[in-house]
């Protein structure tokens, strides 16, 4: 009986030691992993930081303006072409200024296409 109890104790002890060792190894491994993940995060953060600076540099309004002028066939919208939503003609109607035009459905189709709705009221941030 006494021997059995001692045996049990020894068994339990070594099992505990083994498990402890195992867990410790796992923890060490996880710590190693987390350290490398943190290093990676830091590297990525740094890369993002640099890219943000580059993004800001590339977004220089003067540069964008030059690029837009060179590559886009667009011009600033004159104020008279921005009208209120309520002033938009219903389908079939003609615009106040275009009444002279004769060809029936052509003017109705042409009318709204030349219009630009008023910009949203909010100050739009540059889309990033």
């Amino acid at each position: 009986m006494r021997r059995f109890v001692i045996f049990c104790w020894i068994l339990a002890g070594s099992a505990t030691a083994l498990t402890l060792f195992q867990i410790k190894q796992e923890v060490l491994e996880l710590e190693h992993d987390i350290k490398s993940v943190h290093r990676e995060i830091l590297r990525d953060q740094e890369a993002i930081h640099v890219l943000e600076a580059e993004w800001s540099y590339l977004n220089n309004p003067a540069r964008i303006a030059a690029l837009a002028e060179r590559h886009l066939n667009l011009a600033p919208i004159p104020a008279e072409r921005i009208i209120d939503f309520a002033e938009l003609p219903l389908p079939g109607e003609t615009l106040p200024g275009e009444e002279g035009e004769e060809d029936g459905d052509g003017s109705a189709a042409k009318g709204p296409a030349t219009l630009v709705a008023a910009p949203a009221a909010a100050t739009g941030a540059i889309d990033r």
Binding site: H38, L42, E46, S56, P61, P76
Partner: protein
């Protein structure tokens, strides 16, 4: 300690036991006593037992304590204990200095890790070849210099500090042994010469030396959170571009511009030209580093008539239906005050404002009196430095003593020099409904901005807005009439002081405007230093010819960006006023004839 005490207390009081006394203490519960000890032997045993007991109890206590602690560690979570993840985490990227961003989050100043290239010449096998290949990547250094450095006998030479990421990549790709990189941090300004007067710059150790970099040095060092300014880089660009255009057209020596939110006092754009590259501040001339918008003080000329008129109307000295005879120039001591473009008749208050009559304005100021003028200008913040978050803020040049002649000249903008920033803030306060604005370079939440103390009544503010609108519709500011955006403003042209007299051919031409004038959102101020007349302007270089067109372009470009929809009911707000003026003027004309 305790154990020893117990043992001692046990031993001492025990009296020497005798055999005769023993039977009366039957400790064995009636069973025959097998062993009887007497005297010292018994005492020793007793002591031993007690000691054993005490030791066992202490050990049991110690072990149960350890056991309990084990359970505590293993099962109970301690809330004071830091989690492993936080313990090991880096806490984010540390650059040592926070970014500065504009109101939309665009980076204006940032700290970047840079690589500096150095070499250990002893490890470089072929110095000549390496120098030749390196010089293709680093165009700033000549191959001869590089060759000399790489061929030296030392073990450490700097080749180039602060390489760009591209250069670093290129150097790495060359694969020359013996070259190494040293990591360093350096401040970068992606927008270069667009914002240096606001953002400022830093020195070699990244300490702030000017602008926001200087005034928020501690904040930027302490926090990792970006500092958000009220600037909008797009509006800043528009302002700078239009200013530069005007300066070029009129061969001026410089200029300054401010765009301010009329309600919150946020400065959305502030520029001073000529500008400089904040990456190389030492290379810039002092002239370029000078912030004309906040550190320069100028006599603003006729723009001050806004203040005189507002004061006279607000104090009840005159009403819109009153007027003054402007036929006679005003003579005081050795000066004569004349009109630039005399109308030679009786003018109503709106006409005096629209035609920018010096004589009429002086009459108005004299009727209000010197103390009223002084108090009013003080309330507008024109007699103390602007309260903005910059170290480069000018002290206005105030006449001392403030005589009658000063009251007269100040009423039309001579004799009191203020900074463009102060002026913009004062005008914003007048047109926004009459409450003071506090100019700021930091972004404010419009919901959280409390209205400032009242400067003028709401009614006077509306009148001033109408008068300014009239200037743009009918007066000297017609060139600023950006279609659809209800611009209202006032021109100002001031001769510059050259020594002790005013120069005839060196002037400061400015224009201040608010838009849209029925409910102003922004105030724009543009000033051009020493514009020269051109053929296109028929020999004029006044505010109406020089600065007003620039304001027109700025408003036309800025309004769609900030979401102001154009309208065409611009004249509706001033129609009644126009009719009134004509009636009054005609009536007066008839009466005097």
């Amino acid at each position: 300690m305790i154990r020893r005490y117990l043992v001692r207390s046990q031993t001492k009081p025990l009296p020497p036991a005798t055999a005769a006394e023993l039977p009366s203490f039957d400790l064995q519960g009636g069973r025959p006593v097998e062993l009887r000890l007497e005297g010292t032997a018994r005492q020793t045993l007793e002591t031993g037992r007690t000691r054993l007991l005490v030791a066992a109890v202490s050990f049991a206590l110690a072990f149960s304590l350890i056991g309990w602690r084990l359970v505590d560690f293993g099962l109970m979570t301690d809330r004071h204990e830091p989690s492993i993840a936080r313990n090991l985490s880096s806490g984010g990227l540390e650059t040592g200095r926070a970014d500065i961003v504009d109101r939309n989050g665009i980076v204006l100043a940032t700290t970047l890790p840079t690589a500096s290239l150095y070499a250990n010449p002893r490890h470089v096998r072929d110095p000549e070849g390496a120098a030749l290949r390196l010089s293709e990547v680093l165009p700033d250094v000549s191959p001869a210099q590089l060759g000399a450095k790489l061929g030296s006998e030392r073990s450490f030479v700097w080749l180039q500090r602060n390489l760009t990421p591209r250069q670093q990549y290129a150097v790495n790709r060359l694969g020359i042994p013996g070259l190494y990189f040293q990591r360093e941090h350096r401040r970068f300004y992606p927008h270069g010469a667009l914002t240096p007067h606001v953002v400022g710059f830093t020195g070699v150790d990244n300490q702030g030396l000017a602008g926001i970099e200087q005034s928020f040095d501690d904040v930027l060092r302490a926090s990792a959170k970006p500092l958000q300014l009220s600037l909008d880089i797009r509006i800043q660009h528009i302002l700078a571009e239009e200013l530069a255009k005007s300066i070029e057209t009129f061969s001026a020596i410089g200029g300054a511009g401010v765009v301010m939110d009329a309600n919150t006092g946020e400065i959305v754009a502030m520029t001073s030209l000529p500008s400089y590259d904040p990456a190389k501040p030492a290379a810039a001339p002092t002239e370029a580093r000078f912030n004309r918008a906040s550190l320069g003080t100028y006599e603003m000329g006729s723009i001050f008539k806004i203040f005189t008129t507002a004061m006279a109307l607000n104090e009840g000295v005159v009403t819109l239906r009153d007027g003054y005879d402007t036929r006679k120039p005003i003579r005081i001591s050795r000066f004569t005050i004349r009109d630039f473009k005399p109308k030679n008749r009786w003018l109503t208050i709106p006409e005096i404002f629209i035609y920018s009559s010096n004589i009429g304005t002086v009459h108005m100021a004299m009727d209000a009196g010197t103390p009223a003028q002084k108090t009013f200008l003080k309330r507008l913040g024109l007699l103390q430095p602007a309260s903005v978050e910059l170290a480069e803020v000018a002290q206005p040049l105030i006449p001392s003593p403030w005589r009658e002649i000063n009251t007269m000249t100040i009423s039309y903008g001579y004799g009191l020099a203020v900074s463009p920033l102060q002026l913009t803030g004062a005008v914003a306060g007048l047109v926004n409904g009459g409450t003071e604005v506090r100019p700021t370079l930091l972004r404010r939440d419009p919901a959280k901005v409390a209205k400032g103390p009242r400067i003028i009544s709401e009614a006077t503010s509306e009148t001033i807005r109408k008068l300014m609108r009239l200037v743009v519709i009918k007066g000297s500011g017609r060139k600023a009439n950006a279609e659809g955006y209800l611009v209202g403003g006032k021109t100002g042209t001031a001769d510059k002081l050259a020594g002790r007299r005013y120069a005839r051919n060196a002037r400061i031409s400015s224009f201040v405007a608010g838009f849209p004038m029925d409910k102003p959102r922004y105030v724009v101020f543009v000033t051009i230093d020493e514009p020269k007349p051109t053929k296109e302007t028929f020999g004029y270089a006044t505010g109406g010819w020089v600065a007003a067109p620039a304001v027109n372009n700025i408003v036309t470009r800025v309004a769609p960006l900030v979401g102001i929809a154009p309208r065409d009911n611009g004249d509706a707000m001033v129609e009644q006023l126009l009719v009134d003026i004509e009636e009054r003027a005609e009536g007066r004309q008839l009466a005097s004839n």
